[in-house]
């Protein structure tokens, strides 16, 4: 988590114009300055999109979630007090967006038969070799295990933070991580990796 905060601070120091820090952009955006909000978007979009992509395993869904997360962030900016880093705050919104869309998607599947059948686009993450295999295995995990694995193992959030973000108990987060590891081990062994 400290590494994340440090990364956030680094991003904050390097702005498009090299002059304003993140806090200044936030304050300007809170005064309804869309240019300032765009600067915040440019600073954080890759990380937010990466998180959405890891959690959904679907490019189109990740794009939608990213857009929705930033739209939510814009509408809630007045409530951002700076108690946590902006990156942590927007991450939390992105996680909620992903979970909300998944819940809605499940409800819609139960109720509505879609007119069109859209095939998910293949995920492109920039990983290579064994990491790409690992990413594919992560994509194949059940939702609960995948979300915990992504937040804890990939993004470095503690079990407390992960549980808080996902609305589950800390113990459940630990159990889901254990389950994720077990399933990943099985999957990777099938692909020829030795434990």
């Amino acid at each position: 988590m400290e590494a994340l905060l440090a990364a956030g601070a680094t991003v904050a120091a390097v702005t498009e114009q090299g002059q304003l820090d993140e806090q200044t952009w936030v304050e300007r955006a809170q005064r309804a300055d869309t240019t300032a909000f765009e600067a915040l978007y440019r600073m954080h979009v890759d990380k937010v999109y990466g998180l959405c992509l890891r959690m959904t395993g679907n490019t189109a869904e990740a794009e939608d979630c990213t857009q929705e997360a930033f739209i939510q962030a814009w509408s809630k900016l007045s409530k951002f007090r700076g108690d946590s880093a902006f990156s942590t705050w927007i991450h939390r919104i992105a996680v909620n967006t992903v979970l909300g869309r998944m819940r809605k998607s499940r409800r819609e599947q139960d109720r509505v038969q879609a007119v069109t059948d859209i095939s998910p686009a293949p995920v492109t993450t920039g990983d290579s070799g064994n990491l790409e295999d690992l990413q594919q295995a992560v994509d194949g995990l059940p939702d609960g295990a995948r979300h915990v694995f992504v937040l804890h193992a990939v993004y470095g959030y503690s079990h407390d933070e992960t549980g808080n973000m996902l609305g589950i108990a800390t113990g459940t987060s630990k159990a889901q991580l254990h389950r994720a590891k077990r399933l990943l081990a099985q999957q990777l062994k099938q692909n020829g990796y030795e434990s």
Binding site: V45, Y49, G50, E63, L131, A153, S195
Partner: protein, 184 residues
């Protein structure tokens, strides 16, 4: 056991090496900008339009049921007078609901169009396809009614299809409102 622990360690190490930052394949900002640049509308007006349309449609539905029960097939009205703002493509060429319903429905449509703008292109396309399907059904029922104008079943079907259209528009409007909520 040690081997398992070793695998766990390597797995967690590899997971920590996965890219946390991924650049989207397209620029997502223009669509975000178009949404946040649109001022949020009055929730009260939206609710009023929805309530008005529902009341009128339920009234029409009850009326047609009553008339059908009394064997008086006079409910569906002829085309409106010239100059009335009605979309023939949505309601067929021959059979219209009353002007009050049209006014309420037009008000709701304006909110629906705003809601559409706040959606992603993919979602928008899905919604429009669903709407197009409903409207083509309305046109088909209208064609059938032209041949059998006093068919109560067709009239009921037409009204329930109007309700489907209304329901879809309200659903989109509600989704758009949920996206604009500030009580997160």
């Amino acid at each position: 056991m040690n081997e398992n622990q070793s695998f766990d360690d390597r797995l967690m190490e590899a997971a920590g090496s996965l890219e946390t930052e991924v650049t989207p394949e397209r620029d997502l900002w223009p669509e975000i900008q178009s949404v946040i640049a649109t001022p949020s509308r009055s929730r009260r007006n939206t609710l009023f339009a929805q309530a008005a349309a529902i009341v009128l449609l339920v009234g029409a539905s009850s009326g047609i049921t009553y008339l059908a029960m009394n064997k008086q097939m006079q409910y569906v009205t002829p085309p409106p007078p010239n100059g009335l703002n009605v979309e023939h493509a949505s309601f067929g060429d021959n059979y219209m609901l009353g002007p009050e319903y049209q006014d309420a429905r037009n008000g709701l449509k304006a909110q629906f169009d705003e809601g559409l703008e706040s959606m992603t292109p993919r979602e928008r396309a899905d919604v429009l396809k669903n709407l197009e399907a409903i409207r083509s059904v309305i046109e088909e029922i209208n064609r059938a009614l032209a041949n059998d104008p006093e068919n109560a079943l067709l009239q009921e079907l037409l009204l329930s299809t109007y309700q489907e259209e209304l329901s879809l528009m309200m659903k989109i409007d509600n989704v758009a409102n949920a996206m604009n909520r500030t009580d997160f």
